[in-house]
């Protein structure tokens, strides 16, 4: 039994990692009051440029950083449009996803079928000994740990630090924050860029470690799951961690169920994350205080500094 559970848990953790990155970034972004629906597009941009970076430099870690950087670049397009030109955030975010999907397919066309030296796990037990518990904690690649660390750091930043409070204040009442004298637009720019960085890194993880290759549209809806995850977690970072393992794990559980021979249709399982999100949305809206506690009040609202 242990032989089945440990590898399955390992696989679930790697499935959760791209979601942890993308959702943490989106959470910080949304906490500042900006709704960026372009996560899927930014992930694809990060995946393709990360892969190209790794191919060109021969180092997967350099590719990983390039992936993150390209995520920032993609998010800055969004930031300029929505924050400076005050375009509609929902429409711009959707456009960013469509743009990112197309751009990544175009740029990556020559790299389909290339191989790279992937990001490798820290510790691989002797295959003959079978899986062991140490592997569960040390057997992942470094990016998995980085994802959890960044998430914890964001949790601390948002709840304990002065700048975290300012960021939340901007998201809860941009007008008041502006009146006190905080640079609302600049803070939101930084939050959007952070969201882009994280989505880019999450995407790069896909093409550099998860399935070390580039394929068109390879994020396969993970950006949307990350968006759903932020709502599911009701804007609490720690819940993002559990949600990511749950959402990422559902695919793995679904495939496991098939291999064992349980007749659950795969399509039902892939609906579950979204169903869970709808349930959470209903729960949130049934209780007004919960909204006030966690959801940023100014989410997706345009802000024009008057003076």
């Amino acid at each position: 039994m242990l032989d089945l559970i440990i590898p399955s848990m390992m696989t679930m953790m790697t499935a959760a990692t791209p979601l942890i990155f993308a959702a943490t970034g989106e959470l910080v972004c949304e906490k500042s009051g900006v709704l960026n629906l372009g996560v899927e597009g930014m992930m694809l941009v990060g995946a393709v440029f990360g892969f190209i970076g790794a191919t060109v430099t021969g180092d997967a870690y350099v590719g990983f950083l390039i992936g993150g950087f390209s995520g920032i670049m993609a998010s800055l397009i969004f930031a300029v449009l929505t924050l400076l030109l005050v375009s509609n955030q929902v429409a711009t975010g959707l456009a960013l996803t469509i743009f990112g999907t197309g751009l990544s397919a175009l740029v990556g066309a020559d790299y389909v079928g290339e191989t790279i030296d992937r990001i490798r796990p820290l510790y691989v037990p002797n295959a003959a000994d079978g899986p062991n518990v140490i592997q569960l904690f040390l057997g992942h690649d470094p990016v998995v740990y980085l994802g959890v660390l960044v998430l914890l750091a964001c949790a601390g930043f948002l709840s304990r630090s002065r700048w975290g409070m300012i960021l939340r204040a901007v998201g809860d009442s941009d007008v008041s924050a502006h009146a006190i004298g905080y640079p609302v637009i600049r803070i939101r720019f930084a939050a959007v860029a952070f969201g882009g960085l994280m989505a880019g890194l999450g995407g790069a993880y896909l093409s550099l470690a998860y399935t070390p290759l580039w394929a068109e549209n390879m994020s396969a809806g993970r950006g949307w799951i990350a968006l759903a995850l932020v709502v599911f977690a009701s804007w609490r970072p720690i819940r993002v961690l559990f949600g990511a393992v749950l959402f990422g794990g559902i695919t793995i559980v679904q495939l496991n169920a098939q291999a064992i021979g349980l007749g659950i249709p795969g399509a039902v399982m892939s609906m579950l994350p979204y169903l869970a999100t709808i349930v959470v949305l209903v729960l949130i809206s049934s209780n007004a205080t919960r909204i006030r506690l966690n959801a940023p009040a100014c989410l997706a609202q345009p802000f024009r500094p008057e003076r």
């Binding site: 032989d3 089945l4 590898p7 399955s8 390992m10 696989t11 499935a15 066309a109 790299y111 389909v112 079928g113 191989t115 992937r118 295959a127 896909l206 998860y210 399935t211 070390p212 290759l213 394929a215 068109e216 390879m218 994020s219 396969a220 695919t251 793995i252 495939l255 496991n256 098939q258 291999a259 064992i260 021979g261 007749g263 249709p265 795969g266 399509a267």
Partner: protein, 358 residues
């Protein structure tokens, strides 16, 4: 405003062209291809594209080829096929099962254009069908897996529950049973032909459950690479994938469409093209095995012998007695399954656990 207008026109033109890439110039007979994935998948589409290049090589002075890649199975496919027909292509290969209805619809609209639909079963006066007996290759893989697997569990990544795929699973098990009657196969359906992420997930899950050999009926190299990461063996699919997993690939089924494509193009040029159904296997060289690697020499010799016997017709992959899952005999001892049964195969043979999804 003028500049904006120009940009819009340019964008529109780009959209219209739908990623059609054409080589060479006018005055040549145009042959078109519709691909389900990118030619760089190094699997199914790659094999078709290699065959397209063979046409260019053999008949390049008379023929120019065009392909449209990544065409989803559905309404978009008909548009893409019709687009090729409208732009003067005289012979169009539609290379995925799901293009069957779109091909027939387009064929009705363009009676002067000849169509070749891969792996389908519906024909028309200007629509021919062709497929390869990949199950012969699956049988060879089964023989190898039965001999090499230590855990006795094989992981099988399947795409859609259609006869083509079910036939492959059965043939694989028939081959495996000749070496190890107790061998088990775990089948995971990913409901996609090409989704590297999901294929890799499926491979990981199967390995988590104790499979020590992975085989796939999907198009990417992801599963093979996932197997390589864990240091177990796997089979390549549709083309020789050894470069992606030099220490992992046991062999691969290579889809050798080239000779058929060249012959059909020649038939179009000399006017002898007729609608027909072609189902060739190892004997005709449409299914080829990649070198037998990463296995002991006795296994390689056994695999080679099986390959040779299938090729010369001494052996049929579906030789009786064969029972289905309920124990009912479907092929009698001494008989072989006829093409009708093979083409419509919708049951698992005895020895496979689990149910076919509906």
């Amino acid at each position: 405003m003028k500049i904006l207008h120009r940009v819009a026109v340019a964008l529109f033109a780009t959209l219209l062209s739908f990623g059609v890439s054409t080589s060479a110039s006018a005055d040549k007979t145009k042959v078109g291809f519709i691909y389900i994935g990118p030619p760089g998948d190094h699997g199914w589409t790659y094999a078709h594209d290699q065959a397209r290049l063979e046409i260019e090589k053999e008949l390049g002075d008379q023929v120019q080829t065009t392909f449209v890649e990544g065409v989803p199975e559905g309404p978009d496919a008909e548009r893409a096929i019709a687009k090729l027909a409208q732009t003067g292509h005289k012979l169009i290969f539609t290379t995925s099962f799901g293009y069957m209805e779109p091909t027939l619809k387009a064929a009705k609209r363009f009676p002067d254009v000849k169509f070749e639909h891969a792996t389908g079963y519906k024909r028309a006066d200007n629509v021919a069908t062709y497929s390869a007996r990949f199950y012969e290759g699956r049988y060879v893989q089964g023989v190898i897996a039965g001999k090499v697997s230590k855990s006795g569990v094989i992981g099988y990544i399947a795409s859609f529950p259609i006869p083509e795929v079910v036939r492959g699973i059965n043939a694989f098990m028939l081959g495996a049973h000749t070496q190890n009657p107790n061998i088990k196969v775990k089948v995971v359906w990913v409901f996609s032909w090409y989704d590297p992420g999901k294929e890799a997930d499926a491979a990981k899950v199967l390995m988590d459950q104790g499979a020590d050999i992975i085989t796939q009926h999907t198009d990417s190299t992801a599963a093979l690479q996932a197997a390589a990461d864990r240091g177990i063996h796997a089979f390549g699919q549709a083309s020789d994938m050894i470069q992606f997993a030099p220490k992992t690939q046991l062999t691969a089924i290579i889809d050798a469409w080239g000779p058929y494509y060249v012959a059909r193009t020649k038939a179009l040029l000399d006017g002898s093209w007729k609608s027909q159904d072609t189902w060739d296997g190892m004997g005709a060289g449409m299914v080829v095995m990649a070198p037998f690697t990463n296995m002991p020499s006795d296994v390689a010799a056994l695999a080679q012998k099986t390959y040779d016997d299938l090729r010369t017709g001494k052996l049929h992959a579906f030789s009786g007695p064969i029972n289905d899952q309920s124990g009912k005999q479907v092929v009698a001892a001494g008989a072989v399954a006829d093409d009708g049964m093979l083409a419509g195969m919708n049951f698992y043979i005895e020895g496979i656990d689990g149910e076919l999804p509906k």
